[in-house]
C-alpha cells in the first residue's frame, strides 16, 4: 500500500486486526467461488485431461492452428498500424491547418469514423470488396479487417497526433517562425519530431486496441486469425471449448501485456530523457475508450 492514501490513514492496531479479518473473509469467498467454478466444470467433464492435453503434448495444435492464427492476427495488426499511421498523421495535421477548407473536412472525417463502430466498417468493406473488386474470397476478410481498422484507427491516431502537437509550448513554433522558418518547416523540423516522441507510448497502446479488434474479423467475417482457430480445434480435439478459449485468451493477454509493458517503459524512458518539450501523451488509452479531448492544452 502506498504510504500516503487519500482514503486511509496509517492503520492502527484495531484497523490492522480488521484488515486481517477482511483478508481471511475475502480468501474464503475466493476459495468458495473457485470451488464452485471447478466443480461446475468437473460436472460437465471439462477438467478431464483429454481436453487439455493436446495443448501440451500435441505440437500440431500449435503448428497447424494456433501459431498460424497468431501470425494472421499480427499480420492484420501490422498492416493496419502501418497504413493508419501516415493517414492519421495527415488527418491530425490537417485538423490543425490554418485553412478552413482543410481543417473542416479533416475534422468531419475524423469525428465520423471515430463515432461509428469498427464492426460496421468491416462488414461494409467486406461486402464492397465482394461486389465491386475481384479480390479472391480467401483473402477478402483480411482486406476487410484491415480497411475497417485503418479507417477507425487513423482517426484515433489523428487525435493522438493533434494532442501531441498541441501539448508543445507555443514558444516552440514562435521561435521557429522568428528564425524565418516556413510553415511546413516549423511542422516538419520543430513540432512533429517533438510530438512524435511525446505520442509514441500512446501509439504503442493503440496497437493493443488493434490486436484486440482483429478478433472481430475472426468472429464476423471468417478471417482466419487466432480466435477463429477455436472452431477447428474444438472440432478436431473433442469439443474442448473451455480449454481452447482459455489458451487463446492467454495468448492474447500475454501479447497485449507485452505491448502495454513496452508502452509504459517507453513513457518512462521518454519522460526521463526529456526528449520533448511537450507533455507525454499518456498511455491510459490502452483500451478503445478513445480520446475525447486532446489531452494537451488547447
Amino acid at each position: 500500500m502506498s504510504d500516503l492514501s487519500v482514503l486511509y490513514d496509517a492503520p492502527g492496531p484495531r484497523a490492522r486486526a480488521r484488515n486481517w479479518l477482511y483478508t481471511v473473509l475475502f480468501f474464503a469467498l475466493l476459495a468458495l467461488v473457485l470451488w464452485w467454478v471447478l466443480s461446475a466444470m468437473a460436472d460437465k467433464d471439462q477438467l478431464t485431461a483429454d481436453k487439455w492435453r493436446p495443448f501440451v503434448d500435441d505440437s500440431r495444435v500449435w503448428t497447424t492452428y494456433l501459431l498460424p492464427g497468431l501470425l494472421e492476427t499480427l499480420k492484420a495488426a501490422a498492416l493496419s498500424i502501418g497504413i493508419a499511421l501516415p493517414l492519421g498523421a495527415v488527418l491530425g495535421i490537417g485538423r490543425l491547418s490554418e485553412h478552413r477548407w482543410v481543417r473542416i473536412p479533416a475534422g468531419v472525417v475524423v469525428e465520423f469514423f471515430r463515432s461509428i463502430p469498427v464492426l460496421l466498417m468491416m462488414v461494409f468493406a467486406n461486402q464492397i470488396y465482394a461486389q465491386s473488386t475481384d479480390i479472391e474470397p480467401e483473402i477478402r476478410p483480411l482486406y476487410a479487417v484491415v480497411t475497417g481498422l485503418v479507417l477507425y484507427n487513423a482517426s484515433v491516431i489523428a487525435e493522438i497526433v493533434r494532442s501531441g502537437i498541441l501539448s508543445l509550448p507555443l514558444g516552440q513554433s514562435d521561435a521557429a517562425k522568428a528564425i524565418g522558418m516556413r510553415k511546413w518547416q516549423v511542422m516538419c523540423f520543430v513540432l512533429l519530431p517533438q510530438a512524435v516522441t511525446a505520442m509514441l507510448p500512446a501509439l504503442v497502446s493503440q496497437l493493443v486496441v488493434i490486436v484486440k479488434d482483429t478478433a472481430l474479423g475472426g468472429a464476423m467475417l471468417g478471417f482466419g486469425e487466432l480466435l477463429n482457430q477455436h472452431r477447428e480445434i474444438t472440432a478436431n480435439y473433442g469439443a474442448n471449448t473451455i480449454a481452447t478459449f482459455t489458451v487463446i485468451a492467454v495468448i492474447f493477454i500475454l501479447l497485449n501485456l507485452l505491448l502495454t509493458t513496452f508502452a509504459s517503459w517507453l513513457e518512462g524512458y521518454i519522460r526521463r530523457g526529456k526528449k520533448t518539450t511537450g507533455a507525454v501523451v499518456h498511455t491510459g488509452a490502452t483500451d478503445d475508450m478513445g480520446f475525447d479531448e486532446p489531452l494537451g492544452k488547447h
Binding site: 477482511y22 463515432s115 478478433a215 475525447d292
Partner: protein, 222 residues
C-alpha cells in the same frame, strides 16, 4: 429512395442496441465501482484481485469474451441465466460479457478520479476530526465524482459502439441487421451503411456533447 427500409425493422434492431447499452452500462457501473473499491482498499488480497482482474480482462479482446460466454458458458456449461428462449439468453450473455469487459474501464476511471484528489484534502479533513465515512462522503468522493464525468462518458460511448460485438453471438442488434442488409440490398449498400452510421452517430454524439458540457461545468478548478 429509402423504401428498401420498409422490409426491415430498423427501430427494433436499434432498440436492442439501446437496451444492451443501458443494461450493461448500469451493470458495469456497479461491478466497476466494486472493483475500484477493491483496488483502493487497504486489504492487499483485494487489491491483488482487482489488479489481476483488470490486467486480465482488459487485455482480452471483447470478441473472445463474448464468444466464450456463448460457446463456453451457455453451450458447454449450460448456464442459461434464468432460462427463456435462446434469443433472450443470448441477450443476457451479451450483457454479461459487456459488463465483465467494461467494468475494467469504469474501475480505472473511478480510480484515477480518486487519485486526482490531493492527499492534503484528506489530511486536512482528518485533522478536523472527521471520521473515515465523513472524509469519504464529504471530502473525497464529491471531488472525485466531478473529475470522472468525462472519462465515464468515454466509456459509455465506447460501450455503445462495442454492443455491436454482440452480433458475433447472434443477438439481433444493429450490426447484425446491417450484416443481413448489406447482403440482401447489394444495390443500395452505400445507403445502408449511411443509415447505420447515422444511427450510431445519433446515439453517441449527443451523449458525448452533453456529458462533455457537464464535465466542464462540474470540473474542480485547481
Amino acid at each position: 429512395m429509402f423504401d428498401f427500409l420498409d422490409q426491415y425493422d430498423l427501430w427494433d434492431a436499434f432498440w436492442v442496441t439501446i437496451k444492451l447499452t443501458i443494461y450493461s452500462g448500469i451493470g458495469s457501473l456497479i461491478w466497476g465501482t466494486v472493483l475500484a473499491a477493491m483496488r483502493v482498499s487497504p486489504v492487499p488480497v483485494m487489491r491483488a484481485f482487482g489488479t489481476t482482474y483488470i490486467n486480465t480482462v482488459r487485455n482480452t479482446p471483447l470478441t473472445v469474451i463474448m464468444v466464450a460466454t456463448s460457446l463456453g458458458l451457455f453451450q458447454t456449461m449450460q448456464i442459461e441465466l434464468g432460462g427463456g428462449d435462446s434469443s433472450e439468453t443470448g441477450f443476457r450473455l451479451a450483457v454479461l460479457a459487456l459488463i465483465a469487459y467494461h467494468a475494467c474501464f469504469v474501475c480505472e476511471s473511478l480510480r484515477s478520479g480518486i487519485n486526482t484528489v490531493p492527499v492534503g484534502q484528506a489530511e486536512a479533513a482528518r485533522a478536523l476530526g472527521l471520521s473515515f465515512f465523513q472524509v469519504l462522503t464529504l471530502i473525497v468522493l464529491p471531488q472525485a465524482f466531478r473529475s470522472v464525468v468525462a472519462p465515464l462518458a468515454n466509456v459509455l460511448i465506447a460501450l455503445t459502439k462495442n454492443t455491436t460485438v454482440a452480433a458475433a453471438i447472434g443477438v439481433t442488434e444493429a450490426a447484425a441487421l446491417m450484416s443481413t442488409m448489406v447482403e440482401n440490398e447489394s444495390d443500395v449498400i452505400l445507403l445502408v451503411f449511411a443509415v447505420f452510421a447515422f444511427g450510431f452517430i445519433c446515439l453517441t454524439l449527443p451523449v458525448g456533447l452533453l456529458l462533455g458540457w457537464v464535465s466542464k461545468r462540474v470540473a474542480v478548478k485547481r
